[in-house]
C-alpha cells in the first residue's frame, strides 16, 4: 500500500512534465497537421540550454529555466520558418520526412557540440527529501511538478483566453475559413510551432536536473510524446494533459511490478493497445486525419 502511494506520487511528478511534452506535440499536430519528429530534440535542446545557462554560465536556476524555454521557442520558430513554411500544403508524409531529416541533423549536432558524455545539472534545492508519512520525494521533483503545472495552466490561459489562442483555435477548426476571416495563418503556424517547441524545451529544462543530459535523450522523449498524444487523441490538448499522467502511471506500474527494463516499453504498449481498441484516442472527438 505504501509502495503504491509512492508510485502514485512519482506518477504525478513525472506526469506533469509528460503532459507538457504531449501538449506541445498535440498542439502542433492539431493545428498544423505535422507529426513533429524534432519534438524530442527540442526537449533535449531545452535540457542542454538549461545546462548551458545554469551550469556553464552559472546563472540563477529559475532564470535559466526561463531562458531555456525561450531558446526552445526561438529554435522552434526557426525550424517552422525555414523547413515547414516553404512546404505548406504538402501532404503529411512529405513533412514527416523533412522532420525526420531535421531530427537526425539536430541530434548529431548536439552530439557534436556537447560530446557524448552525459551532463548533470545541479540544483540549488535542498538535498534532503521531503518526507510525508511513508512517501518521500526530493524537493527538486516537487519544484518540477509545480513549474510544470504552472506552465500547463498558462497554456490553457493562452489557448482559451487570449487573441492568439482564439486564432489558434479557429485555425484548428478550419484553416481556410480562418484565413478568410483575416487570420494570418503563417504567423499562427510559426507561433504554434514555437509555442509547442517551448513546451518541449520546458520539459527538457525541468527534467535535465532530475536525470542527466545526453544527446540521445530526445529519442525516447519523442516516442513518449507520441504515446501521450495518441492516448489523448491527436490534436486534443486536454487529452494530452491527461495522457501524460496516464503514461507516467503506466510506467511506474510497469517498472514497479513487472520489470524496470520494461519501463520505457509501457508507452509503446499503450500506443498499440489504444490503437487496437480505440484508434481515435481515449478522449477524442471526430478526428480529421485522412
Amino acid at each position: 500500500m505504501d509502495q503504491l502511494l509512492q508510485h502514485l506520487v512519482n506518477t504525478v511528478i513525472m506526469g506533469g512534465t509528460y503532459a507538457l511534452l504531449g501538449i506541445g506535440l498535440t498542439l502542433i499536430f492539431g493545428i498544423m497537421r505535422i507529426v513533429n519528429f524534432t519534438h524530442g530534440e527540442l526537449y533535449a535542446f531545452g535540457a542542454y540550454m538549461m545546462y548551458f545557462f545554469a551550469t556553464i554560465i552559472g546563472m540563477n536556476f529559475f532564470v535559466s529555466i526561463a531562458f531555456a524555454i525561450a531558446a526552445g521557442m526561438v529554435l522552434g520558430a526557426i525550424i517552422e520558418f525555414t523547413l515547414l513554411r516553404p512546404k505548406r500544403g504538402a501532404d503529411i508524409d512529405t513533412t514527416m520526412l523533412i522532420m525526420i531529416g531535421a531530427w537526425i541533423v539536430m541530434q548529431n549536432l548536439e552530439h557534436l557540440s556537447w560530446g557524448g558524455i552525459a551532463k548533470s545539472i545541479s540544483s540549488p534545492l535542498p538535498e534532503a527529501p521531503l518526507v510525508i508519512g511513508p512517501v518521500s520525494v526530493s524537493w527538486l521533483r516537487v519544484m518540477v511538478l509545480v513549474i510544470a503545472l504552472v506552465l500547463i495552466a498558462a497554456t490553457y490561459v493562452v489557448i482559451n483566453r487570449t487573441k492568439l489562442g482564439k486564432a489558434m483555435r479557429a485555425t484548428f477548426q478550419d484553416s481556410n475559413t480562418a484565413a478568410l476571416m483575416g487570420i494570418n495563418i503563417n504567423a499562427i503556424y510559426t507561433m504554434t510551432f514555437g509555442f509547442g517547441s517551448a513546451l518541449a524545451a520546458a520539459a527538457g529544462a525541468l527534467l535535465g536536473p532530475v536525470f542527466v543530459v545526453t544527446p540521445t535523450m530526445g529519442d525516447l522523449a519523442s516516442l513518449k510524446a507520441f504515446a501521450i498524444v495518441i492516448l489523448g487523441g491527436l490534436g486534443n490538448v486536454t487529452g494530452a494533459a491527461i495522457g501524460g499522467f496516464i503514461l507516467a502511471f503506466a510506467e511506474e506500474i510497469g517498472a514497479g511490478y513487472i520489470s524496470s527494463g520494461y519501463r520505457d516499453a509501457m508507452g509503446f504498449v499503450i500506443i498499440i493497445i489504444v490503437l487496437l481498441f480505440k484508434p481515435t484516442g481515449l478522449f477524442a472527438r471526430a478526428e480529421r486525419v485522412g
Binding site: 512529405t94 516516442l223 527494463g261 520494461y262 498499440i272 490503437l275 486525419v289 485522412g290
Partner: protein, 363 residues
Amino acid sequence: MKQVFPLIALAFFATVPLWLQDQYYLHTLVVAGIFMLAAMSLNLLLGYTGQLSLGHVAFFGIGAYVSALTSLGFSLSIFGVQITHEPWPPFIGLILGALAAGLCGYLIGKLAFRVRGAYFVIVTISFAEVVRLVSLNWVELTNGPLALPGIPPLTLGFDWTGYVTLWGKAQNYYLVLVFIALAYVLIKRLVQSPYGRAMIALRENETLAVSVGISVTKYLVLAAIFSGALAGLAGGLYAHYIQIIDPMIFMFLNTVTMVIMVITGGKGTLAGPIVGGLIFGLAPVVLRNYVGPEVQWILYGVLMILIVFVLPEGIVPAIERWFNRKAKPGRKDGSAAGGKAADRETGQGGSTLALASSGKVNS
C-alpha cells in the same frame, strides 16, 4: 534498352569480386546489398502502397534474431515450462526468420491499416521500439545487450552435392547478389500484376480504388506480409554474415537509412532502392576518410531534406524523365507513377492487339 539495363547491371555486379580484391570494400558492398534488400522491401510499402512504415527495422531485426537463434539453439523457461531448441542448419533459420517477419507484417498490417497517416507511422515506430526493448530485456533468450555471438555462416548444398559454408566475403557477395536479383524479379512481377495495380490505386486515390472494388485491407496486408518477409530475409542474411547481433540492430537509425535509400533513389520505382542503396551503402566508405560518424549523419539528414525539397520523386524518375524527353521530344508529362513507363509501352503493344479484334462491347 529499358529491359536490358537490369541485366547489364547484374552482369557488371557479378564481375566485381573478380577485380575488386580489397576485402573491406567487398564487405561494404555485402552490407550495402543487405540493406538494399531491406530498402526494396520497404519500397513495396512506402513506394507502392504509399504507407510510410517507420518500424521497418523490426522486420529486419526479427529475421536476424529468429535466424540466429534457430541456428544457435536456445534454452529458456516460460512459466516454468522448459523449452530447449537444438541448433538447426542456418539455411532453415533464414527461411524461418523470413516467415516470422512475414507473420509480423501480417499482424502489424492487420492492426495498423485500420489507422492511417500519422497513426500508422507511430504504430510502426512503436512496434519496432517494443521489439527492441524485448530483445534488450529478454536476456534468457537474446542475451540482451551482451549480444548473440558465434552465429554460424550459411551453408549451402545437399547431401548429394556436398556442402559449402560461406565464410568468405566474395561468397556472401554472390549470395546477396542472387537474392537481390530474385527479389527484383518477384517485386517486378508483383507490382506489374493486378496486385500491384491495386496497391498503386490505393496509394493514388483510396476512395476511388475502393469504389472499383479494391479491398484496402487485403492489398495493404498482402504488401505488408511480403515486405516484412523480405526484410526478415535481409536480416537473416545480415546475422549469418556478420555472425554477431545485438539489440542495436533495432536502432531507429537503421530504419531511417532504409527510408533515405528509398526516397533518394525514387520511391515506387523498381530501381530506386537499388540506386539509393548503392549511394548510401557506399557513402560511408567515401566519407569516413573526411568526417566522423556524427557529421556523416548530419549530411544524411540534410540530404534527406534536400531531396524532399529539390527532387521529391527521387533520382530514378528524374533520370527516366530526362531519358524519355530525349527519346520522345514533345512529350511533356513525366511518369509520376514511377517505373510504369515500361508498363505503358506494353500497354501500347496491347493496343494493336485489341484494335485487330472486333470492336464489340463486352458485357
